[in-house]
C-alpha cells in the first residue's frame, strides 16, 4: 500500500493549520486552526496504523484519544475566549499581551 499521498495530505493540512495559528487575529479562528493541525496528526496516526498492519490497532485507538482530548480542549479554550471577549469586548489575539506582565 502506497502511503505517500496520505502523508502529503497530512503535511499540507498541518502546514495549513500552522499558518492559521500564526496569522489569524481572531482567537476563535486560531483555535479552529489548532483543530486542523490535530486532524492532520490523526490522519498520520491512522495511515501508519494501516501501513504497519498493527494487530491491536494502536494508531486508530490513539487518534480516538486525541479527538476526545481535543474536544475537551476546545471546550475550555472557547470558554476562555468567551470570558476574554466579555471583559475586553474583543477577541483579537494581538491585543492580548497580558503574558508580558
Amino acid at each position: 500500500m502506497l502511503i505517500n499521498q496520505f502523508l502529503l495530505l497530512g503535511a499540507a493540512l498541518f502546514s495549513l493549520g500552522v499558518y492559521g495559528v500564526l496569522s489569524r487575529r481572531n482567537a476563535v479562528l486560531v483555535l479552529l486552526s489548532v483543530e486542523v493541525m490535530l486532524a492532520a496528526v490523526n490522519l498520520n496516526l491512522v495511515v501508519f496504523d494501516r501501513a504497519h498492519q498493527d494487530v491491536v490497532a494502536g494508531g486508530q485507538v490513539f487518534s480516538l484519544f486525541v479527538m476526545a482530548v481535543a474536544a475537551a480542549e476546545v471546550g475550555i479554550g472557547l470558554a476562555i475566549v468567551l470570558l476574554i471577549f466579555r471583559n475586553r469586548r474583543s477577541a483579537n489575539v494581538d491585543e492580548l499581551d497580558l503574558m508580558k506582565l
Binding site: 495559528v21 500564526l22 496569522s23 489575539v93 494581538d94 492580548l96 499581551d97 503574558m99 508580558k100
Partner: protein, 696 residues
C-alpha cells in the same frame, strides 16, 4: 593495694645503742586515715555542709574526734612497744638526677613516737576546740565555710606531721598556710583583718623559701627526700657524706622555714596580727597546728642538727634566736591591752622556749613543752574567747571583775595561767623545768668561738628571767580581766555549756599533762618519743634538778607577786593602771620594738616605691609607645583596606550588577507577550532543528 609498700627500716641508733621497735601492725597500716579523714571532711562540708543537719559542724567535729581517738590508741600502743612505721604509695616519678638517684613522688604516712605525739595533740586539742567553736560561732554568716576551713587547717597539719618525706611535709606546710589565710581573714569585710591574713601568708612565704632551699639541698645530696633515707645517711657519719659539705647552709635554710611557721624573732610579726581571726582559730593555731610545725620540723630532722659534722654548728644560731624570741616578745605582752594579743605574745615567748630547747640539743624537753603548752595555751585562748563573747570587746580596759559573772571561765583561766607560769604541779612546771635542766647540759654543745658554756649559762639566765616575765604578764591579764570592777557595757554572763565544758576538759589536761614525764618518776613521754628511725641522742634529765626547780618556781612566784602589787589594786582608767611606765622602755614595747615599722618603712616602702615608679615609667613609656605604634599601624592598614573596599570590592559588585541589568534589558525585548510571536518562534526553532538534523 598492690602498690603500697612498707619499709621495714631497722632502728638506727647512735652510739652503739640498739633497740628493737615494732612496725605497729594493722594499727599503723591504717594510720593513713588520720590525715585523710579531715581532708575528706573538708570537701564533704564544702559540697554538702549547708544541707546537712548540723551545717557542717558535725563532719568537722567527727573527723577530729576520729583523729583524737586513733591518736590516743596509737599513743598507748607506742608506750607499750615503740612503733616505727613508714607507709608509702608511689604516685609518680621525677626521673633520676645526674648522680643516678631516682626520685619518686610518694604519698606516705609516718607512725613513730614524734608523729603519734602530734596526732594526739592535734586530735585532742582539735576536738575540744571544735566543740567550743560550735557555741562561739553560732549565728556566724559563714558558719559552714568556717568549719570547712577549720577542718582543712587540722587536716593540713596532719598531712604535715604524717609526712615521711620532705615533699609531702611541704604540701602539708602549705595546706596549713592557706587554711590559716582563710581563717585569719574570716571576717574579711574589715580591711584590717584581710591585711592580717595576707601579712601572715606573706611572712610565712618569705620563710618558706628557706624551707624549699633546705629541702632541695638535703634531697639532692642524700639522693632521697625520705626521712628514713636522710636518717640512714646521717647514721653513717659525716666523713664520706655529701650532705655534710652543705649541711651548715641546709640547716640554716631549714631553720629559716621553721622560724616562719613557729614565729621566731624577727619573723614573728605575723602571729600577733593573726588574732584578727575568730578566737577558736587562735586557740588551735597557737596550740596544735601552725606554730608547732616549725618545732616539729626541727624535731623531725633532729639528728641532722645533733650529729657532729652535720648541722650541729647551726645550733648556736637556733639557741640565740630562741632566746631573743622568748625574752623580747614576753616583754611586749606586758603592755598589750588586747587580751588576745597578750596571749599571742605569750605564745611567741613559749615558742622561744621550745626553740631554745631544740638548739640546746634537748629534743625531749622541747617537744614536751610543745605538748603541755598545747593544752594550757588553747585553754587560755578559749577562756579569752569566752570573756570576749560575754563582754563584746577584746580590750582588757573594758573588762574587770568578771570573776563574779563567769566563775567557770575564771577558774579554768586561772588553771591555765598557773600552768603557763610554771607553778607546781601543773603541766608548765614540768616542761619548763625540763628545758631549764637541759640547758645545763647544753654548754658542751658549743665551741669556744660560739660562746661555749658562757652562752649556755647566759641562755639559762634569760630563760629563768623569761619565767619571771611570763608569770608577771599572766598575773596582769588575770587581774585586769577577772578582778576589780567591771568597766564594760551591759551585763556579762557565763558562756553556754558547749563552751565551758571544753574549758573544763582542757583545764584538767593542763593540770595533769605534766605528770606523764616527771623526771626520774614517770618517763612515759621520753619513752614514747624514743621510737624513731634514728635515735635523737639528746640530753634529758634523769632526775629532777632540785636547784633549778626551786629557782624556776621562785621566778614564777616572784612574777606573780610583782604583778599582784602592780595591777591587782585595780584603778579606773588605763592611765592609772599603767602608771608604771618606764620612759624609754614603755614606748619601745608599745610599738613592738618598731619592727613592724621597720619592715614597712625600711623594707616594704623602699622596695614598693621605686618598683611602683619603675612600673609607672614602663607603663607610660614602653607600653604606651607600643600601644600608640600599634594604633598608628592599625589606622594605616585601615586606610588601605578602605580603598580596596571602595574601589576593588564595591567596583566588582557594581560591575556585576550592571552587567546583569544590561543583559536583562536586552532579554526583555524578546518578551512581547504576544502569543502568536511565541508560537512563531517555536515553529521557527523546530524548523531550524529539523533542517539541522536533515543536513547533518
Amino acid at each position: 593495694m598492690s602498690n603500697v609498700f612498707t619499709l621495714a627500716v631497722p632502728s638506727l641508733l647512735a652510739a652503739g645503742e640498739t633497740k628493737e621497735f615494732t612496725d605497729g601492725g594493722a594499727l599503723a597500716e591504717w594510720a593513713w586515715l588520720i590525715p585523710v579523714v579531715p581532708i575528706v571532711a573538708t570537701f564533704a562540708i564544702v559540697f554538702f555542709g549547708k544541707r546537712s543537719p548540723l551545717k557542717g559542724w558535725g563532719m568537722a567535729w567527727g573527723s577530729m574526734a576520729f583523729v583524737a581517738v586513733y591518736g590516743i590508741i596509737l599513743f598507748f600502743a607506742n608506750l607499750n612497744e615503740g612503733i616505727t612505721y613508714e607507709g608509702a604509695v608511689a604516685i609518680g616519678d621525677w626521673g633520676a638526677d645526674g648522680l643516678g638517684h631516682a626520685f619518686g613522688i610518694e604519698w606516705g604516712w609516718m607512725v613513730d613516737g614524734l608523729s603519734i605525739m602530734m596526732y594526739v595533740v592535734v586530735g585532742v586539742v582539735g576536738v575540744l576546740v571544735f566543740t567550743y567553736a560550735k557555741g562561739y560561732m553560732e549565728g556566724d554568716i559563714r558558719y559552714t565555710w568556717f568549719f570547712a576551713s577549720f577542718a582543712l587547717f587540722g587536716g593540713g597539719m596532719l598531712v604535715l606531721v604524717s609526712a615521711p618525706n620532705l615533699i609531702q611535709l611541704i604540701v602539708g606546710w602549705e595546706l596549713v598556710g592557706v587554711a590559716s589565710w582563710l581563717l585569719i581573714g574570716h571576717y574579711w569585710e574589715e580591711h584590717e583583718n584581710s591585711s592580717a591574713a595576707i601579712k601572715a601568708f606573706l611572712v610565712n612565704k618569705v620563710a618558706d623559701v628557706g624551707l624549699f632551699i633546705g629541702a632541695i639541698i638535703i634531697g639532692l645530696s642524700v639522693g632521697s627526700f625520705r626521712f628514713s633515707a636522710i636518717m640512714e645517711h646521717i647514721s653513717h657519719g659525716a666523713d664520706h657524706s655529701t650532705l655534710a659539705q652543705f649541711s651548715f647552709w641546709a640547716g640554716v635554710a631549714i631553720f629559716i622555714g621553721a622560724m616562719g611557721k613557729s614565729a621566731q624573732f624577727p619573723l614573728h610579726v605575723w602571729l600577733p596580727d593573726a588574732m584578727a581571726g575568730p578566737t577558736p582559730v587562735s586557740a588551735l593555731m597557737h596550740a596544735a597546728t601552725m606554730v608547732t610545725a616549725g618545732v616539729y620540723l626541727i624535731g623531725r630532722l633532729f639528728p641532722f642538727y645533733n650529729t657532729p659534722g652535720f648541722a650541729d654548728d647551726v645550733r648556736w644560731i637556733i639557741i640565740i634566736i630562741g632566746t631573743l624570741t622568748l625574752f623580747l616578745t614576753g616583754l611586749i605582752a606586758l603592755v598589750a591591752d588586747d587580751i588576745k594579743k597578750v596571749l599571742a605574745y605569750s605564745t611567741l615567748s613559749q615558742l622561744g622556749y621550745m626553740v631554745v630547747a631544740m638548739g640546746a640539743g634537748a629534743y625531749t624537753a622541747g617537744l614536751f613543752h610543745l605538748f603541755t603548752h598545747a593544752f594550757f595555751k588553747s585553754l587560755l585562748f578559749l577562756g579569752a574567747g569566752s570573756v570576749i563573747h560575754a563582754v563584746h570587746s577584746n580590750n582588757m580596759s573594758d573588762m574587770g571583775g568578771l570573776r563574779k559573772y563567769m566563775p567557770q571561765t575564771y577558774w579554768t583561766f586561772m588553771v591555765g595561767s598557773l600552768a603557763l607560769a610554771g607553778i607546781f604541779p601543773l603541766a608548765g612546771f614540768w616542761s619548763k623545768d625540763e628545758i631549764l635542766a637541759s640547758l645545763q647540759y647544753a654548754g658542751g654543745n658549743y665551741t669556744t668561738a660560739q660562746g661555749g658554756d658562757a652562752l649556755a649559762n647566759f641562755v639559762l639566765v634569760v630563760a629563768i628571767a623569761g619565767a619571771f616575765v611570763t608569770a608577771f604578764y599572766m598575773t596582769r591579764a588575770v587581774s585586769l580581766t577577772f578582778f576589780g570592777t567591771y568597766k564594760g557595757h551591759g551585763h556579762p554572763h557565763e558562756s553556754p555549756k558547749i563552751m565551758t565544758y571544753p574549758l573544763i576538759a582542757l583545764a584538767s589536761l593542763s593540770a595533769v599533762a605534766g605528770l606523764i614525764n616527771m623526771p626520774g618518776i614517770t618517763s612515759w613521754f621520753t619513752k614514747a618519743l624514743e621510737a624513731r628511725f634514728l635515735a635523737p641522742g639528746d640530753h634529758h634529765a634523769e632526775g629532777l634538778v632540785i636547784s633549778l626547780a626551786i629557782i624556776g618556781t621562785l621566778a614564777a612566784v616572784g612574777g606573780i607577786t610583782a604583778g599582784y602589787f602592780l595591777w591587782f589594786a585595780d584603778k579606773g582608767t588605763q592611765q592609772e593602771r599603767d602608771k608604771f611606765r618606764i620612759p624609754v622602755l614603755y614606748p619601745l614595747l608599745e610599738n613592738k620594738y618598731y619592727i613592724d615599722d621597720f619592715y614597712m618603712n625600711g623594707i616594704i616602702r623602699p622596695i614598693r616605691g621605686p618598683v611602683a615608679r619603675a612600673v609607672d615609667w614602663f607603663n607610660g613609656h614602653i607600653i604606651d609607645l607600643a600601644l600608640n605604634g600599634a594604633g598608628l599601624v592599625a589606622i594605616k592598614a585601615a586606610k588601605v583596606v578602605y580603598w580596596f573596599d571602595q574601589r576593588g570590592v564595591d567596583g566588582a559588585i557594581n560591575a556585576s550588577a550592571a552587567a546583569a541589568g544590561g543583559t536583562g534589558g536586552l532579554l526583555r525585548l524578546l518578551q512581547t507577550g504576544r502569543v502568536q510571536q511565541y508560537a512563531f518562534l517555536i515553529v521557527a526553532g523546530t524548523v531550524i532543528l529539523v533542517a539541522g538534523f536533515l543536513v547533518f
